[in-house]
Amino acid sequence: MKNTGMPNGQKTVDMPYAATLGLRFEQDADGEWLAIMPRADTLGGRPGFVHGGALAGMLECVAIHKVQTVAAPREGRLARPINLSISYLRGATHENCYAKAEIVRLGGRIIVVSVRVWQDDPQKPVVMGQVSLMR
């Protein structure tokens, strides 16, 4: 697993809550980040499905991580979500969840990130969301 080597010489993002979700980040050959939340009983919601809150939590952590990869933190602090709009497109069963983020707008203080979460098929997202963050 390669989770170091962030731009600007930063180390990997230290977010205790992301570790609680089991979330990890890997970089592919093109340098693009992929987030992985392995299946776990601790993520369950209604019987048979991943909790919507865990998916929302994943989405936010992925957005915060994305900001850290493109912009230097202010005063050593992680970007803070201002709001989050999330659509649940399919029930997420107890399988691994994967996510990729895209910067929609990179401003001086406000950054908008769009995140897509899928399970077995990247073309069939289980969750899509947009997060506005402040740094």
Partner: protein, 167 residues
Amino acid sequence: MSGHGKMADDIRASQTERDLILGATDPDFERVVRWLLGHGHGLAIGTEYIGHGEDWVELGLCQRPDLVADPATGVIASGPIITLLDFATSASTWLRRKKVAPNATLDLRIDYLRPARPGAKIVARGECYAAKRTVSFVRGIAHDGDPEDPIAHCVGTFFNMDEKSSV
């Protein structure tokens, strides 16, 4: 969990699971909510039942070091707050509809007004303000002691899966 009364616990648990999967028109509402909070992700982050009324549910969460977003500030991440709001608003739809039935979050929007005070207990109150045949409409707030000074607001919709055949 202790072994004492385990069989009775198992019977109650399986009844609750059946209610959640198949629906129940006369549920022991508090039992169903407590069961959900005591399993899976609810258990992992430490959610607790506080109370409920005709169309609302109030749940609590204690801040813990493993729920922190940024160790530089020690403030709880927003993810556990959304989870609490998702739980509370989802359960509020059952109250309004007067039955427990499987539902799925369609969408959720959360605004974070301010960071929570480190260490303070988080309270989420979810309310179902309209329940139509296929979709239930919810709103909620989260606060850390004073409901007049919330840390987050949310609005959302849930799909009533027991009405699937009518879509």
